[in-house]
Amino acid sequence: MCQITVCLVSENIMLASKSLKLGTQAIRGLSRVSLFSKPVAQATITRRNQYVQGGELFSTTATSSADVENEEKKKISVTFVDKDGEETQIKVPIGMSMLEAAHENDIELEGACEGSLACSTCHVIVMDVEQYNKLEDPTDEENDMLDLAFGLTETSRLGCQVIAKPELDGLRLALPAATRNFAVDGFKPKPH
């Protein structure tokens, strides 16, 4: 920790403020190592832009004791790809929804109705058709909400309804790009 502090102080301020902005995920890894032993969802981060001097990849893993081995058995690996193509890989405990997992890992997935099937903001796109087929079919209620999702695709699902199970290890989910045509009733804005 001290090393990083010194490093940042000696850098120019733009870097320092950028690090702060980047901050939370990179730093979380640091602090977890020494201060807290309660395991939380691990995060290895692959980022296109490296903020730390020298362009070193910043990646950490939690190092709690025998808990980890058990945890490993009960978690699957899921990768979220945002609209700019940046990937974040996380570990999701079996039984947790993708929406909850995303929020635990600061992934920007909206959840207006907090998982009660009353909105479509946690819409995710399953990037692999075979993985999509491994999911249980959406219920009528989920389909009703998917009707309203922006950028709906053949392999779209609501993140709050995709629950981690062992067969989904390696799941890749894309966050839909915001589209310009955001009207539900097919209204097309006048071109300008």
């Binding site: 301020i13 901050g23 939370t24 979380r28 602090s31 929020h103 009207a183 804005p189």
Partner: protein, 531 residues
């Protein structure tokens, strides 16, 4: 150590103890949709941020922070999503959200039906935005009467108008002003306890038949509220004056009338499924209306929503009982009927007794791809004692605001307000979001993307202007607004004042098994916040 802090924007907030008692005030900079203050994760963040905090403890510079003063007019989804994205995109931004009502959240509070509580959960997210240290809510501040648009533009660098659509489209046909003819908006505001409508008193006892013009989700909402057994509504946050009136209502038949056919019905599957599932409800959909043409099929081919709605209507039609049993409530989906005039009752009491409809047929409309309803010259009457027009909302212009009266929106490009419809000149620092920008359509989530576009435009504009632009010079912002309002004796309702109202409503509601008992009296609402 010498640290140039012009680019650092840290504000200090709550106490935090780290490593043997070094007390620091520090605030998470990122807006997290689900930040849990007490989670170990948040604890990790705070402890590690404290390292940096210690480093720059004395580097706090008030010149850099809060240098961008933003005012958002309207605290519904458009306003709150805009505020959230502005705060996130600009660490130097301070955002004030004003609303003419003492209660925030716009249509989430006053439009979403009482039996749709999950749709209102988004209020939690909006509350977190309001709690952001750089954000404030000021209720009971009305654009146009408390403060003018030009005054706001002098006080703030950026003004975003997100005040929605508080008026209605009109049919413009004879008899529209007969008593008993109302807009669905008024009816919705009434049952949702809007303080402007607690005296509304629609007459639900003079008749057994109501006609709802329109077949969108708002039309389905009002039909459903009229037809659901009141006992089911008693455990919702419906306004108590409305519940009382509905308990005494004699309305047993509701017609949902559309100008076009089932393939063009504007409602969505969830709401349709819900109304078809009302217990002991007789649903009438004529098989003949379900004959679709190839043009209909073409329209539905690329439209998943329309296909699924049509399927639901078809299924409901074929699984119908052939006639209602005695005492059963009835819902009739009536298609291909365009209202021509409202007729007064024979006793000339000024009350509506009947709607005269012209039958329609669908015609292709060159260019739009959608068919339109054309009159056939044949007419038909439907008797009723209540008419609710659910044909669309309309925005209201204010002084100094360019407005397109035909479309009912503010002319804009990507949220940047245009000086007039014809000239491509922009109004500096003035933006729109939500219904005021794109018209009264869409769902709550539509505003998410709308706000992204508007905030994107604002960010681009801020980047383009240099240090000598109007954005660089300081503006009075929040202090200026509050001073002006104080000078005018306007009582401002803050977010924590709203929380007093909220808490009182919930307490009162728990006494009668409701999630909340809405407070609907203006005077009482304002008095409560001064205690």
């Amino acid at each position: 150590m010498l640290i140039n802090t012009t680019n650092l924007n840290i504000s200090y907030d709550y106490p935090f103890h780290f490593n043997g008692g070094l007390a620091l005030f520090f605030r998470q900079k990122t807006l997290n949709p689900k930040s849990d203050f007490h989670s170990s994760k948040a604890l990790c963040q705070r402890s590690s941020m404290a390292i940096f905090g210690a480093m720059i403890a004395r580097a706090y510079s008030s010149a850099a922070t809060r240098s961008l003063r933003v005012c958002v007019v309207g605290s519904g989804p458009a306003g709150f999503y805009t505020a959230e994205k502005m705060l996130k995109a600009h660490e130097e931004a301070e955002v004030d959200i004003i609303d003419r009502l003492p209660t925030p959240f716009g249509l989430v509070r006053s439009g979403v039906a009482p039996d749709h509580p999950e749709t209102k959960i988004v209020i939690n997210q909006f509350s977190r935005v309001a709690h952001n240290e750089r954000c404030s809510f000021f209720g009971n501040v009305s654009l146009g009467s408390s403060i003018s648009l030009s005054e706001l533009r002098q006080i703030y660098h950026v003004v975003v108008l997100a005040y929605g659509a508080e008026s209605d489209r009109v049919l413009g046909i004879p008899g529209e002003d007969l008593s008993g003819v109302h807009s669905a908006r008024e009816f919705v505001w009434w049952y949702n306890g809007h303080p402007d409508f607690n005296q509304f008193s629609p007459d639900l006892k003079n008749t057994d038949t109501a006609i709802v013009l329109g077949q969108g989700n708002v039309a389905l909402d009002v039909a459903r509220i009229l037809l659901r057994p009141p006992a089911e509504l008693a455990t919702t946050d419906i306004a108590s004056h409305a519940l009382a009136a509905l308990r005494e209502s004699s309305i047993r038949k509701v017609y949902l009338v559309g100008r076009r056919g089932p393939a063009q019905a504007a409602c969505t599957a969830k709401e349709l499924r819900e109304i078809l599932a009302i217990k002991h409800l007789y649903v009438n959909i004529k098989q003949a209306d379900l004959q679709i043409t190839s043009a209909d099929e073409e329209e539905m081919k690329s439209n998943r929503i329309r296909r699924r709605v049509f399927d639901l209507l078809s299924k409901a039609s074929s699984s119908n009982q052939t006639r209602p049993s005695s005492g059963q409530r009835e819902l009739h989906f009536t298609f291909f009927r365009k209202p021509d005039k409202f007729l007064e009752s024979n006793d000339k009491s000024g009350h509506v007794a009947c709607v005269n409809f012209e039958k329609t047929a669908l015609k292709g409309s060159a260019g739009s791809g959608n068919q339109i309803a054309a009159g056939t010259g044949e007419y038909e009457d439907l008797k009723c004692g209540l008419v609710l027009k659910s044909i669309g909302y309309k925005s209201i212009p204010v002084d100094g605001l360019p407005f397109d009266h035909s479309k009912g929106v503010v002319p804009n490009i990507g949220g940047r307000v245009l000086s007039s419809r014809d000239v491509d000149q922009l109004e500096d620092g003035l933006y729109v979001c939500g219904w005021l920008k794109r018209g009264p359509t869409g769902i709550i989530a539509t505003n998410l993307y709308d706000a992204e576009e508007t905030v994107g435009s604002i960010s681009e504009d801020l980047k383009k202007r240099g240090p000598t632009s109007k954005f660089a010079s300081p503006k009075p912002g929040r202090e200026g607004l509050l001073q002006l309002l104080e000078n005018r004796n306007i009582q401002v309702v803050t977010f924590s004042d709203w929380e007093k109202i909220d808490s009182e409503e919930r307490r009162h509601g728990s006494l009668s098994g409701k999630p909340r008992e809405k407070l609907t009296n203006w005077k009482y609402l304002l008095e409560l916040t001064t205690k």
